[in-house]
Amino acid sequence: MEFYQRDRTLQPAGYTPIYKTSVARSPRQSLLSLQGSLSEVTGPVFGQNELGPLDNDLIRNYAKDCDPIGERIIVHGRVLDENNRPVPNTLVEFWQANAGGRYRHKKDTYLAPIDPNFGGCGRALTDENGYYFFRTIKPGPYPWRNYVNSWRPAHIHFSVFGSGFAQRLITQMYFEGDPLIKECPIVHVIPDEDAINRLIAPIDLNGSVPLDTIAYKFDIVLRGRRSTLFENRLEGN
């Protein structure tokens, strides 16, 4: 049950000079191709009992006296694999800036204010259909030091596990219509235009709660497992 080879033409290279920090942090030697063993096809399993009831509600999970400032949104979608099958019971974690573009992080010094009622992180387990959802406020764009005048488009960071350690993935979700997407060096380390577009979540009016919260839909695809009859043997008996 090993995984399909990762399609590196759809993934960013390590060394991408338009994103300056990658220059000193990227390997110069080639990655050594390794066929999957048990160490790669297995991975950690998480249970619902490890999560709290508000872990997927960023509007409420850090609120002190009232709801946080910002546009109320739902983000929902499915975690699938390359075989178009749902990835059930997998841990999805997300984090983001507040509506002003400021992170609750001791190293973020941007002058936009911290929102006392917003933490900016949450997590959920997918259900048996691979479905996840959470509620939050829409994050704001913010400046960062790449070029002198670089701005990140609004985004939410996602971390996903899958069922094997080789599926481990971190990515970022962007919002339909954001004019900063086309300017962003971090977005454009991805060498494939369609792969970039797959990171942009459309508004989903059908998923919205009328007069309350607007929805964005974001599906995530993890690597698929091989299932041919002529299985390579990963282990002895």
């Binding site: 990762r6 390590g14 048990l38 999560l51 872990d55 997300f94 992080h105 094997g164 971190i170 971090i186």
Partner: protein
Amino acid sequence: MVQNLDYLKETASQTAGPYVHIGLIPKQAGFDIFENNFTNILADENTRGERIIIEGRVIDGTGTPLRDALLEIWQANADGRYNHELDRQKSGKVDDDFRGWGRTGTDFDTAVYRFETIKPGVVSGRNNRDMAPHINFWIVARGINIGLNTRMYFADEADKNANDPVLNLIEQHERRKTLIASRDDSGPVPVYRFDIVLQGENETVFFDI
């Protein structure tokens, strides 16, 4: 024309960024939000196996250690079994007190990361070849576009390391050393030191898994 292959495409990776701690280890970001936090301690008092500490740094191409890296490890238990349904090895048994996974960040001041775990056993590899005890590492950070995968092996397992099918794939023998952690027995719990070099001299071997 031919039929369409209807596979989906894997979602593209993006950097974890400088604020990865918020989402994955919020206490290091400076606040407390979850009742249950994932940590760098993999073993509890009931876990079987030899207690060990793993410490090290993640070093960039200028020789500077990263203070904002996040590392996760995944390993078998003391019997060499993974706590996962796809591990159907006949030998050994699953340890209900050991998931085999942990995460931590490098320290903002010292740049050192640390895990408290147990030493894994031998795992059967492809084609019935035993793999020496090892721990899988996954490293993300600002400036790393897609998570880096590597393995840590144990210096005190020289014979098993010499026969390990993965170490033997590394053509340049000198580079095999980049995956082998040294052992320090001077304290109450053995400490394995494992520095990960992202680039340049002594660059760690990373795998496309």
